[in-house]
């Protein structure tokens, strides 16, 4: 193997197309199976786990409860990991230390990870494409309002923006403003209004 290959070989593979990536991924899983580093059902189970157990439906449930129960909200802001257990939710990977930041009519919170893609998995599942986009990560800290416009959200200029750039092990979660016109709604109906983006500050909740 040449030095050139040592230095650039692995990157060269990136230049191939989707069918190559798919085949190489399959080859990787295949070798893991041959070497008994994985179970035959492990990959399916992981995918299924993030479809059904760790996903944004958890975060939406937490928001809806916080909107309807002021005492719960206090406990949530004080100790997120303890509070979500009250709802039967578990924390876990990428959520060992969760922290909720609450939007108000005067302050809008947004979460970023300019160094990688830190994200509160137990409450939101896996991060969407946009959160991992280098362009999002580059722009969100310096020009958060312009980034919001790319998501179709126009923020009132009087609202202060606070960006939480994750780089240690705290995972931030945004409690959005409860929309007007939802008085008396039950938690399930409220939860259905809440997008993944709203729980990281890239969307506003409307009824």
């Amino acid at each position: 193997m040449s030095t050139e290959k040592d230095k650039h070989g692995h990157h060269d593979h990136l230049r191939e197309g989707e069918s190559y990536y798919a085949a190489r991924t399959k080859a990787l899983e295949s070798l893991f199976r041959e070497k008994k580093l994985i179970g035959t059902d492990t990959v399916d189970r992981v995918i299924n786990f993030f479809d059904l157990e760790m996903g944004p439906f958890n975060g939406a449930k937490v928001c809806a409860r916080a909107w309807t129960d002021g005492e719960f909200k206090k406990r949530l802001l004080d100790d997120c990991n303890a509070a979500i257990a009250e709802l039967g939710l578990r924390d876990g990977i990428e959520g060992e230390n969760l922290k909720v930041v609450e939007c108000t009519p005067k302050v809008h919170h947004m979460v970023s990870c300019t160094l990688c893609s830190c994200w509160p998995w137990p409450l939101l599942g896996l991060p969407p494409y946009w959160f991992k986009d280098p362009v999002f990560r580059a722009r969100v800290v310096r020009e958060p309002r312009e980034v919001l416009k790319d998501f179709g959200v126009e923020l009132d200029p009087s609202v202060r923006v606070e960006v939480w750039d994750s780089s240690a092990q705290i995972r931030y979660f945004v409690l959005p403003n409860r929309p007007e016109g939802t008085e008396g709604w039950d938690e399930e109906k409220l939860a259905a209004l809440i997008s993944t983006e709203a729980m990281q500050g890239l969307d506003l909740v409307t009824a």
């Binding site: 399959k26 893991f32 008994k36 059902d41 189970r45 995918i47 230390n97 494409y129 722009r139 750039d165």
Partner: protein, 224 residues
Amino acid sequence: MKLQQYLGGLENLGPVNVEKRVFVEDWEARLFGVHMTMMGTGIWAWPHLRVKAEGMNPLDYFKYRYYIKWLGGMCAFLIERGYIDENELDELTAHFLANPDAPLPEKGNKNITDKVVDYLWTGDDPYRDVVINPIFREGQRVQVKDMPSAVHTRLPGYLRNKIGVVDEVYPKAILYSDSVPTDSVSTPQPIYRVKFMTRDIWADIPDTDDIIYNDCFETYLEAA
């Protein structure tokens, strides 16, 4: 300067790709499953993947989708560490490229699945129960050091040399990673949530009340 360590604040990039799916191709989900298995069985941890990402050509870093970069990083790591053989991987890749519907071998270790799911629920708490004597206190002005470039850092480049105020001293020591070369975050140490006025970082922004919070390892800070 490794551009990946200085992404925050980079200008003139054009619009964000607001794609809301996690995986945009089926293979990405399966790759993620293999990655999660590597995490759950201790083959690697986030810092290994991040080292690969920060060592990439910055133009390629922008050019390729997230999981395409993961694929490159995972394969390189597994080959380097001897988990798999490059020729074997290349041959199998060619095989599946020619026969996309060929089945995966019905072999494996059935205990792994439970182990991985257990890991997902347990996580990997970075707090370490060691005595810490944080040298900064809440409300104190701190300046972010301009550390030499490192193989891997947790210090966002745009904060270097900037001054902020300690907003919270976290109660315990955090271990980031003791298995990859970093700019000294590989020993358990206090971390601080530091509050920066965005205008102190970029004097030309129009929104002068905006704030950026960042959790800084103690080694990145000095008294201002």
